[in-house]
């Protein structure tokens, strides 16, 4: 991140970092540089930058399987995530967790859909009891609204006045399933039914999203109450590495709505290009760094 960036430049730089990080990741996957699978965020970058930039250092972020964008915005450390995805001992969690299971300062993820909701709620609750002033933001997908533990958590967050912001990124698909096959009724009402202020926005414009979330985050902190907000967006990449059976024309239609060009056109072309070449250099360096890192050894003592 550059200190001299304007607000718009900063958002664009961050989104481009996420995008370029993932594009390189997908290219390098075929080389066998990475392990297992991975879930990219292409098309949803605006959400991460709009929200996470507004949090304080003390605030908590709980993310899910699709966490690159959230992590990179939170940490600005692409090299640590590459290291993790390459399974190196200096990766975010030393190669143990891989892409779905990382932890960095107050940033956490887990790969069980919905299971993160109680932990995020509990974290926010603890901070409230400790009077630290921190709040928690938890990101879940539209499909994850199928999980019962989400509602158990909403109920308790509401009953106990927990300062947790639940962000539903409705990218209109859950793996290979259309949201209509997964979800009955209304997303927003799912929050409201638990007495939680709930809203929605259909946008891929990072600035618009930023402005939308400013009063929400401020309110969660001030009122010390949960909030439930749905962002209607779209995933432009595969679900994981190579599984995309969605209608091509649908994907193309949403591609017109991409968050990056929207922001890029607000910048001077030369500025945008400078940012892009900067980021590309950083990413190249991050990859080179990660490739040099050692693989972890197994500690001797087994757990109980």
């Amino acid at each position: 991140m550059s200190k001299n960036d304007t607000f718009q430049e900063k958002l664009y730089r961050q989104m481009f970092l996420i995008r370029h990080f993932e594009e390189r990741l997908l290219e390098l996957f075929s080389e066998g540089a990475f392990f297992g699978t991975t879930h990219c965020y292409i098309g949803q970058e605006a959400n991460a930058v709009a929200i996470i930039n507004q949090l304080t250092d003390k605030d908590i972020v709980f993310s899910n399987h699709r966490c690159h964008g959230h992590f990179l915005t939170y940490s600005d450390k692409p090299e640590l995530l590459y290291g993790e995805l390459m399974g190196r001992s200096t990766g975010v969690v030393g190669g143990r967790g891989g892409s779905q299971h990382i932890c960095y300062n107050n940033f956490y993820t887990n790969g069980i859909q919905g299971g993160i909701m109680p932990a995020a709620t509990g974290m926010a609750f603890a901070e409230k009891i400790k009077k630290s002033g921190a709040i928690a933001t938890v990101f879940i997908g539209d499909g994850t609204l199928g999980q019962g533990v989400v509602y158990e958590s909403l109920n308790m967050a509401s009953l106990w006045d927990v300062p947790v912001l639940v962000v539903v990124e409705n990218n209109r698909w859950a793996q290979s399933s259309r949201v209509e096959n997964e979800l009955a009724g209304s997303m927003v009402k799912r929050g409201e039914a638990f007495g939680i202020d709930s809203g929605e926005i259909d946008s891929t414009d990072a600035e618009e999203l930023y402005a939308h979330f400013t009063p929400i985050i401020e309110k969660v902190r001030r009122e010390q109450r949960p909030h439930f907000e749905v962002i209607h967006t779209y995933r432009l990449c595969h679900h994981s590495k190579s599984d995309d059976a969605r209608p091509k024309d649908e994907v193309e239609r949403y591609r017109e709505n991409e968050p990056l060009p929207k922001m890029r056109e607000r910048l001077k072309a030369s500025t945008a290009e400078a940012i892009e070449s900067d980021v590309k250099k950083r990413i190249a360096e991050a990859i080179a760094w990660a490739r040099e890192q050692p693989f972890p050894e197994l500690q001797k003592t087994e757990l109980v």
Partner: protein
């Protein structure tokens, strides 16, 4: 006379003095004070950190885990241990994993107390001992107090001194039992020894640990039944039993068991759950794997039969293990 429930209740009072301790569970507020009354008085004294929950076991166990990861020391009560199955994913895929999976950057010092066991006619979904389903999860500790330990001090150690997630198994029938007193190395007619560890194992011997004919291992609600069986064995058969009662069933300290087996060479392992894939299976397998040749006759496993636990007493009695089953196992050739 102190009882198990009094010991736990007193410990809860002491624990809640620590501002990091928070207590969550169903129906734990006064005047009700929890289904088995371990919570009595707590909400009156510590209204802010005693939090009654909705009926949402997975959710509130997960919430407590989140609190644990942010510096609190939560204690959760599961009203009937059977409901722990609702939290199986939270325990295996979240609570047990976070510390190692996150490269040792976090700890999850949660204590999950659960009332287990039958013999009260509560029927198939309110009588089980489901801890066996959690034994194979790397990363968690499972404790089981008995009247031979100090249940309250175990709970205090687990809550304040152990940074690992702990399941704390409380047998329902045991709540009202008197704590067993120990004096001058004796406990009743037995000599007593305790291992010198945070979660102590108690060993009882009729013969000052000189000789033994059989080693009976039992925990939680089975501990007193094992001791009764040992008394019967002595009186009716002049068989000297040693009874080994661990307070931690995972990890299990094998040393006192092996020490006793070196004298007796005969093993009986007892649990209230059905035997298949039970705790006893693990104990017997570990001892045969690691100490082959130590046993001189087939190891014996006492546990419930492979049925749900029936409501009616005639069936429940047959399904659950009784003193007589331990006795029979001990005299088997």
């Amino acid at each position: 006379m102190s009882t198990v429930v009094k010991s736990l209740n007193r410990a809860m009072h002491e624990l809640l003095e620590d501002p990091r301790v928070v207590f969550l569970g169903e129906d734990i507020l006064d005047p009700y004070g929890g289904a088995f009354k371990v919570a009595k008085g707590l909400s009156t004294q510590f209204p802010e950190r005693v939090i009654t929950t909705p009926i949402a076991e997975a959710g509130f166990v997960g919430i407590a885990a989140g609190m644990a990861m942010r510096g609190m020391r939560p204690i959760v009560e599961i009203m009937f241990g059977d409901f722990l199955m609702l939290t199986a994913d939270q325990i295996l895929n979240h609570i047990a994993k976070y510390r190692w999976m996150y490269n040792d950057q976090v700890e999850v010092p949660i204590v999950i107390r659960a009332a287990m066991g039958g013999r009260r006619g509560y029927g198939p979904t309110h009588s089980q001992s489901v801890e066996k389903h959690f034994l194979g999860m790397p990363g968690i500790v499972i404790l089981a107090p008995s009247p031979f330990h100090d249940p309250g001090s175990l709970l205090k150690t687990a809550t304040l001194d152990d940074s690992r997630p702990v399941l704390f198994i409380e047998n329902k029938l045991m709540y009202s039992r008197a704590l067993k007193n120990e004096a001058d190395g004796n406990c009743g007619d037995f000599s007593i020894r305790k291992t010198d560890s945070e979660y102590t194992t108690v060993s009882l011997s009729y013969d000052t640990f000189q000789s033994a004919d059989v080693t009976i291992v039992a925990y939680g609600g089975m501990a007193e039944l094992a001791v009764e069986a040992a008394e019967m064995l002595m009186i009716e058969e002049e068989i000297f039993a040693e009874v080994i009662i661990p307070s931690s069933i995972k990890p299990l300290d094998y040393d006192p068991i092996i020490a006793s087996l070196e004298r007796s060479q005969k093993l009986v392992v007892c649990e209230e759950a059905s035997k298949a894939a039970g705790w006893g299976s693990e104990v017997i397998s570990r001892i045969t794997k690691d100490h082959f040749g130590l046993l001189k006759s087939a190891p014996q496993h006492v546990g419930a039969l492979e049925f749900p636990i029936a409501n009616t007493v005639t069936l429940e009695e047959k399904i659950l293990p009784q003193v007589k089953d331990i006795f029979d196992a001990a005299i088997s050739k």
